[in-house]
Assembly symmetry: C2
Homo-oligomer: 315 residues x 2
């Protein structure tokens, strides 16, 4: 009934923070970790590690930086049964921000990169591995790349020591056959490595595409509570946990987390399926213009937005 | 890029009316038809035909009955470029409610039935075909049937003259592999007949499952504006229209319909992805208890509802 090799990574705080600049209360982050761990989720990604020289701590909450001491403080007294992960972007983190794993609460560092930055991503991943961390490389916006460039990047990755590489549907533009095509390509190019999947929900396909990825052999699955995440959000952790028949997972603590925290939070900040995100997803575009228009008084002018997005430009 | 044989049926008013007893204004129904037709949608299902001896017209809106004169009146002056359909339930419609097709605005009558009522469904479908209508038979709640009974029902259908049979995920409990299993079974048992798909969105899989059904050869696709429909609702018409690359469809009028009507309506009546519907879907149960609890003050007590639904009962 289940595949033992499957692992779930909760990205609630990390991807959710893209909406509100990680201005989550300590209580919420603590509650999230507690319920995620109770549910038996394998990893919890608590934010980004980034240099304070690049982001103003007055503007950004502490999960933009993920200082090891802040993490320890907020999780103090909780048994860390879910491994902790954080994400790093190329060029936004300094070597000294990353302590040796023995001095850190983190087990995993995930490197997000565009295909063009593959060399830098492998270098950053190597640096983290040398400090003792598990790493992943998450190739963003892959739906916008030419196949020859992707093949070259995968070839480089195949020679690297990173153990997990992600198929990422950054724009929520993919459907099942896209996932299958990419998952098969990644698996063929990267023998022995785990393939991960990270989906966005612009077209209500985040969960369906994650199921497709499971069918295609992906073993590392990203999801977030109530689907929180930038724009249309992510694959819902409650759906995924409930779907997998693995006895190590229990959906009940996730439902409690949503009942007590994320359903109320959804009334304060916005994510999920909305027409502007469906439009950018269908066009294989970054959700940026949709996020922008949701902050204006034209937030519900769907036809105007559609016309703007689909007006042909001279090339 | 597209399959010419694919047709879309809009079930906005018919399935949406299950939420509010079809108490839609004439203006809304007229607007819906107009935009659906502009979008090039093949069929628009405007309600149920049912006997007024069984439903009180004071309690139920006119789309519970779909009297031909009411339909003509509300669509007066609009060119009927989308064919009109209505649904009938076994035992809820009288022979005299169904006029000969030449006297009626309807082109298609869809018979909804449980597997156990297959003989009655075929009889009702035959009666409608004899009056000149296209018909479909939609086998509801198929996820709760034993395979031997389903095979027997399909065997009966193969000998009938109905031209289209639907795979229906009444409870929103299916995922892609279930759709594939059923679609293949229906296609193999019913050579020469069109297979349809009608999905519910309890687990955010209505659109993904509809895509899977397309891949598996289903050619008649149900969807509704902004996904309106009982409980978690249906496959979103805007997603489906945008996804199919068929030049006969245009998503823009659907976006306008949503902007002007269904987004505002969603603030008055409730449908869509909500945790209680995800729970009943995951359990392969009718959404009834979830719909009920959403009408009580416990509407957001997800854990309590989950515990109620999953407490083992002695059998």
């Amino acid at each position: 009934m289940y595949r033992e090799s499957i692992q779930i990574l909760d990205c609630t705080i990390r991807d959710g923070g893209l909406i509100n600049k990680w201005q989550f209360s300590d209580k919420l982050v603590r509650e999230t970790y507690k319920r995620v761990a109770q549910a038996g989720i394998d990893y919890m990604e608590i934010g980004y590690k980034a240099s304070q020289s690049q982001f103003d701590p007055k503007e950004y909450g502490k999960w933009r930086f993920c200082k090891d001491d802040d993490v320890k403080k907020v999780l103090d007294g909780i048994e860390l049964t879910s491994k902790l992960a954080c994400m790093v972007d190329i060029g936004r983190v300094e070597k000294e921000d990353i302590l040796p794993v023995a001095d850190s609460p983190f087990s995993m560092i995930r490197v997000a990169c565009y295909l063009r930055d593959m060399d830098k991503a492998i270098q950053l991943s190597d640096m983290c591995m040398n400090k003792g961390y598990e790493t992943t490389i998450n190739i963003m916006a892959v739906s916008t790349n030419l196949e020859k460039d992707l093949d070259e990047g995968l070839e480089q990755l195949s020679k690297s020591s990173v153990s997990c590489v992600y198929v990422v549907d950054s724009f929520g533009s993919m459907y099942s056959e896209d996932i299958t095509w990419l998952a098969k390509k990644y698996k063929a190019a990267l023998p022995g490595k785990t393939i991960g999947i990270h989906c966005h929900n612009n077209r209500q396909l985040a969960f369906g595409n994650t199921i497709q990825a499971i069918i295609d052999g992906c073993d590392m699955l990203d999801a977030s509570a109530y689907g929180i995440g930038r724009g249309a959000g992510n694959c819902c952790l409650e759906l995924l946990t409930d779907f997998l028949k693995n006895p190590k997972y229990d959906v009940r603590p996730i439902l409690q987390l949503i009942e007590e925290n994320y359903r109320p939070l959804r009334e304060e900040i916005e994510w999920g399926y909305l027409i502007p995100y469906m439009i950018t997803g269908g066009l294989n575009e970054h959700p940026r213009p949709a996020i922008h228009m949701r902050g204006t008084e034209d937030r519900n002018k769907f036809v105007k937005f559609y016309d703007q997005m689909t007006t042909p430009e001279s090339n």
